[in-house]
Amino acid sequence: MGLKLNDIRKSFGTPPVNVLKGISFEIKDGEFVALTGRSGSGKSTLLYVLSSLDPPTSGSLKVDGREMESLAPSDLHQFRNLHMGFVFQFHYLLPELTCLENILMPARKTGRQVELQKDALKLMRDFEVEHVKDKVPGKISGGERQRVAIARALLLKPKYLFADEPTGNLDSASGEKVMKIFEQVNRKHKTTVIMVTHDMGYANRAKRRIGLKDGAVEFDRKSKDR
């Protein structure tokens, strides 16, 4: 079913500044989409609207055929918990918890932290961070933190993974590892990945690239070889 946007507009402040100016497109299940554009082009705002964290000023967003605006807050929270994962430029790991406990936080919301502990450890193994499972985030490297944050986002096997500049704070080696994880979850688990990046090298590795300029879609290209 995927995500379907129709004439999405978003404005802030008084007088209103229009950040998104009537954006319409569709993202199908299993796609790997890179949202690109210069600073202030509206790509992060679009990602937050797509992920239902930020409601649009006007227009409609359908996720799996459901109008997100019409969902009750509790249904929206549940939907986000079960079907969406988030990775941001900063890891936002809880500093007082160990890495394993951090990964289990989404499961704790529904009381499934014990049941999903094996899955969490498997993710840590897959992402080569199993050795830091009992360490707090302050004691590990930036790249490891970001991979722990990705593991946290993927624990409940979400259908959609939203990433806002996930490699922005990482060196190239760590950034490469993150990109490989994204490609892997997209390929193996058919997770729909929507990633904001201004790095064209990483953007080119996505199956589809949507370029934004001044709040409007500048281009929407698909890679033929992927």
Binding site: Y48, L53, M84, F86, Y92, L94, E96, M105, K109
Partner: protein, 415 residues
């Protein structure tokens, strides 16, 4: 969220300990102050009740004035006095004590009563003399109506009923005059006539005012000294339930012009002091806990501001506003509850220690050997409740602020 709340508290041990100390010390201070205040108060009340009985019925005649004599000398005429009369009855007495005896005998609330006659005398031994209130009693009745037998430190109070001129002297008075049991003292009345009396014993009620100025003698002996044979100036009444004292006094007041007072009315100055003490006690604990609450509020508020990003990620994971409220509110509640419990333990320890401290010095109003502490469950309930409430209130406002944060606003401002 309890798991995360506890972990967040433990991750800041110094701040948590500081907040905890505020609440703990506040609660402990409340329990200690309350324990001591109420301990001494209870002793004072017991001793006041013992010395004044639950209800006292006494003669209360207004002074004689020019209008008291209207119609006596020149009926129907308007009298102008060159020197208007003004005088007080020399020996105020109950008009019809037998009526009271009959009433009290029948009243089911009354456990015992004792008729008394009080005379102002001078008590002397060798060249030393002291003014004193000589209270005439029937020892058997007085023993039932008051705790005088427990207050005897020497001799036997019941000897007053033997029929001779014997007196029981208050300990302070005895000390000032150098009197021991078995000595003979001179009781001098208002007109200067002296009566020798044997000291049957020494009593100590614990209330210095009483012990320094009171002696007891046989009723008929004191009536003779006061030149008021057969008269009764006061009846002290003991009830089965002291809490009914005010009610019974009010009820009996309706029957007479004489003065009927419950023990707390007779000692209104003390009960007013108790009320002020209570007010001071609660204001003090309120101020201490408000300061401690600001400590918790400050810590949680800072934590909320520092954890904006983590609040945003929790919200993006599907945690709701209520979850975020609970996360910070639980921390306030945990600090309040734990601080309250530790405060109760510390307060109890303080009180146990204070009980061992001896009291010395003549300035004491009441004579006790050690600091007194009242162990009362309501003190613990109040103390814990106030600690808990301060934790809840100081946690509520930061928690509400955190829950109202929009995850998207946080992410935008952090980005």
């Amino acid at each position: 969220m309890f798991f995360l709340a506890v972990r967040q508290l433990l991750s800041r041990p110094r701040q948590t300990l500081l907040a905890l100390m505020g609440i703990t010390l506040g609660t402990a201070a409340f329990l200690t102050i309350s324990g001591i205040m109420l301990g001494f108060r209870q002793l004072l009340i017991n001793q006041l009740i013992n010395s004044t009985a639950h209800v006292s019925i006494s003669a209360d005649k207004p002074p004689v004035t020019e209008h008291s004599l209207d119609g006596v000398f020149f009926p129907g005429a308007l009298v102008h006095w060159t020197v208007p009369p003004f005088a007080k009855d020399e020996s105020p007495h109950l008009e019809y004590p037998q009526g009271w005896f009959d009433l009290l005998d029948k009243a089911p609330e009354v456990k015992a009563y004792s008729p008394q006659f009080t005379a102002q005398v001078l008590l002397a031994r060798t060249k030393l003399s002291r003014p004193c209130q000589l209270v005439g009693v029937r020892a058997a009745k007085q023993a039932l109506a008051t705790d005088i037998l427990d207050d005897m430190v020497a001799g036997n109070f019941m000897d007053l009923d033997k029929g001779g001129f014997e007196v029981v002297v208050g300990s302070g008075l005895a000390e000032k005059l150098g009197i021991r049991q078995g000595d003979t003292v001179n009781v001098t009345d208002a007109k200067g006539q002296a009566y020798p009396a044997k000291v049957a014993g020494i009593c100590q009620t614990g209330v210095n005012d009483v012990d320094d100025s009171t002696a007891y003698g046989p009723l008929d002996f004191v009536q003779r000294v006061g030149q008021a044979p057969g008269e009764v100036s006061q009846i002290v009444v003991r009830l089965y339930n002291p809490d009914l004292a005010r009610q019974m006094a009010a009820q009996w007041s309706l029957l007479t012009k004489e003065k009927v007072q419950s023990w707390d009315e007779a000692n209104a100055s003390f009960t007013n002091v108790f009320k002020i003490q209570d007010l001071v006690r609660f204001i003090l604990i309120f101020v201490i806990l408000v300061v401690a609450s600001f400590g918790i509020y400050n810590i949680l508020n800072n934590m909320v501001n520092q954890k904006r990003g983590e609040i945003a990620i929790l919200r993006s994971m599907g945690y709701e506003e209520g979850d975020i409220t609970r996360l910070f509110l639980l921390q306030g509640v945990a600090l309040g509850a734990l601080g309250g419990l530790l405060g109760m333990v510390l307060g109890t320890a303080f009180c146990l220690y204070l009980q061992t401290i001896p009291i010395t010095g003549a300035a004491a109003i009441i004579k006790v050997s050690h600091v007194l502490v009242a162990w009362r469950l309501p003190n613990y309930i109040y103390g814990f409740s106030m600690a808990f409430l301060s934790g809840v209130l100081s946690g509520y406002f930061p928690a509400r602020a955190a829950s109202r944060m929009s995850p998207i606003d946080i992410l935008r401002s952090e980005g």
